[in-house]
Amino acid sequence: MHDMKYSNIQSSIANIRPLLAREFVSYFNSPIAYVFAAVFLVVTNWIFFQQFFLINQALMRDWFGFLPWVFLFLAPAITMRSWAEEKKSNTIEFLLTLPIKDSEVVIAKFFSSFFFLAIVLGLSLALPIAIGRLGDVDSGVVVAGYVGALLLGGLYLSIGLLISSFTRNQIVAFLLSLCAMFVLYIVGSGVVLLFLQGPIAGVLQYISAATHFSSMSRGVFDTRDIVYYISFTLFFLYLNTESIGSRKWR
């Protein structure tokens, strides 16, 4: 039993790996992702250094506070073509008639986009390194912040992938994903909660990606936040598998 499970995982990895590699490389073949990555770095650095020179203070915390808003544009840009393009060019018919499970294809798509996001995010590591050279940097905040950013990014990507699977139009996928991520981010914010009370407010606050990110960006690791991100990401990946599988019965 144990051996069988192990060999199942092995064969899954063997199924996933070539797809993941192809998807990952294809990000570097597309200009859109480059453009957004460049914009991401320029904007985030500009925000940071504006503050840096104005108030002569370097706080990674503020930078992390700004990050989710930039991710709102970066993540949909990464995921918008994932399924939409496959549908439009009908390569989906090739992809999903390979001897590979739908769920494995979803996982391959998720991790290829996740690795791309991680690389873009990794390029911003120049900031904390530079600050560390110039003065003191709170490494706890930096580590927690980056882990939080990866988790938040993963969640956003899983939403973007799901929405990309609903349409064959990349622009539609981009805009809908942006809206969905925005809603998920702000449902727990003060403005929304102002009008609500009781258990609903509590639920919204739990659902909100912002609530969970804010503590991490302050350098606080909380298992509940990590559980939130991973379970919600898995939930959206599951929905993605279902939405792809629905072609069979429609």
Partner: protein, 312 residues
């Protein structure tokens, strides 16, 4: 090898396939013939596991297409109708990717790719981006993709559509040579293609099978013969007289030649109609100007079975 039983597929309210039954024996090249929208692609998508049947079963060997989809997919090569390719890749990159996704061991991948380049004639384009290829070369890349893992069964959905006449002949030759070793289902609405490549034919229309057999059987099975005659005489009397022979069927009149030479296409129900017509002409003192017999060809069979006016 492939057994399709009572296959039905509905898309919402539209019925794409209804009670389709046929089988494909090992080593056969089955031509799947029908007008656009008849249900050819739907059947192929079900066999390849891209979509599921609404009712009925498809078996490949002992494997069921719903329960054992992954085992079946390993034995299949599939060229979809639109020939989907990742156009941002180069030909060799793409084939390498397919080889990896098909679990060809990494030590054998290069050989598998070389074999496909050879078989499909891709030498000239192997380093080019798929974007830049002509339709004919893309189609060959599609075929290479479908065959790279040496599958027992090939499902080819309109493999020659959109190609020029020379390319069509090349692809057909290719399919014929592959067909010596593999089981192939090939869909088309081009009739000479069937006669040129297929050992058996299934004709499908509006989601149901209207005929199946070897190309010869289909033509013989119909056994419809038409005799074309041109007679000098009075049109009304000729028509009247001929319609009284019970060995003759429908009489169609077509463009007359001059004022009193009338042309008819006479369907023959039994016997050799030519003799009968000749004697009729003699006894009525008509002048027989021209007469020839034509048996129904595959094109006629197809047209008769797939157009509403004469169908079924």
């Amino acid at each position: 090898m492939i057994q399709v039983q009572n296959l039905t597929k509905t898309y919402g309210a539209t019925r794409a396939l209804e009670n389709v039954n046929f089988q494909v024996c090992p080593g056969e090249v089955l031509g799947f013939l029908g007008p656009n929208g008849a249900g050819k692609s739907t059947t192929m998508k079900i066999i390849t596991g891209f979509i599921s049947p609404s009712a009925g079963t498809v078996k490949v060997g002992d494997l069921d297409v719903v329960d054992n989809s992954f085992e079946i997919r390993q034995k299949l090569g599939y060229l979809a109708e639109t020939n989907p390719l990742y156009t941002d890749m180069k030909v060799h990159e793409y084939l390498r990717f397919v080889a990896a996704a098909r679990h060809i061991p990494s030590s054998e991948r290069s050989n598998a790719i070389k074999a496909m380049v050879q078989v499909c004639g891709l030498f000239a384009v192997v380093g080019k981006s798929i974007d830049a290829l002509s339709k004919g070369f893309r189609q060959r890349v599609g075929l290479a993709q479908a065959m790279i893992h040496n599958p027992d069964i090939l499902i080819l959905d309109e493999p020659t559509s959109g190609l020029d006449p020379n390319q069509i002949v090349e692809i057909r030759d290719l399919i014929r040579s592959i067909g010596k070793e593999k089981t192939i289902i090939l869909s088309t609405h081009i009739l000479p293609e069937v006669a040129a490549t297929c050992s058996r034919v299934v004709i499908i229309n509006n989601g149901t099978i209207v005929a199946q057999g070897t190309p010869d059987e289909l033509m013989r099975g119909s056994s419809r013969e038409v005799v074309y005659i041109k007679i000098k005489g009075d049109r009304g009397i000729i028509r009247q007289t001929l319609s009284e022979y019970h060995a003759l069927g429908a009489i169609k009149q077509y463009a007359p030649e001059g004022r009193d030479i009338h042309a008819f296409a006479v369907e023959i129900k039994e016997g050799d109609g030519r003799e009968l017509l000749f004697k009729a002409a003699v006894s009525n003192k008509w002048t027989l100007i021209e007469m020839y017999r034509k048996s129904e060809n595959l094109e006629d069979v197809f047209r008769r079975l797939t157009t509403k006016e004469n169908g079924v």
